[in-house]
Symmetry: C2
Subunit: 343 residues, 2 copies
Amino acid sequence: MKLAILFGGTSYEHEISIVSAITLKNILQNENQIFIFLDFDHNFYKIDSENMFAKKFSDGTYKKERKLNLIKGGFESKGIFKSEKFTDFKVINLIHGGQGEDGTIFSLLEFHKIKTISPNREASTLSYNKNLTKIFANSIGVKTLEFETLHIRGDRKLQKLEFPVIVKPLSLGSSLGVSVVEKIEDFDYALDTAFEFEENIIIEPFIQNVKEVNLAGTFTDKLVFSNIEEPQKGEILDFETKYMDFSREETVAKAQISESLEQKLFDSFEKIYLPYFLGSLIRCDFFIIDDEVYLNEINSIPGSFANYLFPNFVDILKNIYIPTPHQIQTSYKYINHIQKAKG
Amino acid sequence: MKLAILFGGTSYEHEISIVSAITLKNILQNENQIFIFLDFDHNFYKIDSENMFAKKFSDGTYKKERKLNLIKGGFESKGIFKSEKFTDFKVINLIHGGQGEDGTIFSLLEFHKIKTISPNREASTLSYNKNLTKIFANSIGVKTLEFETLHIRGDRKLQKLEFPVIVKPLSLGSSLGVSVVEKIEDFDYALDTAFEFEENIIIEPFIQNVKEVNLAGTFTDKLVFSNIEEPQKGEILDFETKYMDFSREETVAKAQISESLEQKLFDSFEKIYLPYFLGSLIRCDFFIIDDEVYLNEINSIPGSFANYLFPNFVDILKNIYIPTPHQIQTSYKYINHIQKAKG
């Protein structure tokens, strides 16, 4: 079955979605694929492979490509003389951030009966909102760091946490609006920075040099794990560094960690993934503290689909299990019953 | 601003959505309103007021009405000779159950930049999935009964709960698939019944004659509460009884409860509603045990919008606060930066 790579979208991560899609094009070069771009006006465009370069989008010339409308089972391009339908594919939802990762795109595609590799609505809510991620993780026995949330119109005070802390907008990825705060004098500025992006923010303890490991995975006919990576990085990655990170293509070396720790990571991933994340390929970012595993974040649409973590990425991508929506019909039994009762 | 009542949808509660919409028509009779029906094939139809009767839908003659397509800002009916656009309204999402209450409809409307009174995606996930409802409620300091979840392919054993218990599909409303189980011999049959509807089920203690109260509310320029109702009922309402319940129009009398208990109910409602449920009108069903409040369920689109609980329903409905989605634009700063770096 053909793959359709859907990218762009109206989030702060619009541009890294473009970079992600170009990276995926390089990796999938021999596969049967099409590219669909979603712009800021919520219009879809079919982009031919040879036009998949960044400038096409930044200079607006993508608008000369064929515009697509959603139809049942796929997309349609309407011309004055002829229309063309594009169906029979699996859409890879590669729209990072809002819209892609909050469940909007999944809903649009599901409503139009289009198969998609994407976090579903529940998975989106649980991963996109960092507060809900933590209460969900804790409910299934996966540890997280302590946290507090603040609202833009609420008190600007910490309840229990002590400095240094890390301040993040509640739902954004790619380090946007994130600051490390060492002392109370810098707290207000960090809050302002985060509130620029969102009305709700989350605050966690900041642990200098904490060991961080990333593990991606999905479900084909069984759970499939990627290599475990220990990302090399400074204090926190800024947007630009992460941005370049989204274009990685080379498979990374495995992190040097013990077998027992590896098993703890696999166990935590499994608890998180099943059943809510079926149909998606996710990357979980964990902290390791005193040989214990703490979930930091769930990336429900990781940059360039975390291809660089998998030794056999293309094979896995083509075989991701996609649940079939439950089909419901009605016989209008109750309405008919009422009609009958009325005589 | 005109109201558009969107009803039908592809859930088990399709028929009660029709009844709900007809009820709302009777209540809103003097208001500027249109009706939009979503059928099982995912087609939208504009239904004129005089055609708003149940048989229109059960006998399929709604198909003779004008078909609508989603466009930016509203709907369009395309004719051979002329097309007509319907815009400038607030959609009341009155699609009960899946699609309406799981976030799909909200996503469709938001993507098309249509204002809607509806639970948003996060609110939908938190109310539609009874497991997530409980962990969310507990995280904000609202008590619930204990619970366990089972999966269709998992063990069929209780971990901690003791009989009698109540067995429910994880996400359905209107008592579908729900059984009270008094003893272990009847447990398997109850599980089979619930698994008919869903792969995941939730089990809670069943407390004979527990006091149940319902409280609806929304946010206009402040939180607005309905009357508190103590529903009169038998053990559990069957689908048909609840179905008739969805056509209620008369305002109910207030339940006889103490002021301190009333305050506890208001406090619990506020914790639940803000900020996730902004933009919706919800009904929370609580248990009262030893003067303590326990959340049972959140109905994010209650039957006939719980009109019968509000003394001044139409006024409130017209003034529900609808959050404006955050608008994001891009300057393609990072892509331009890379282009420049490349030379």
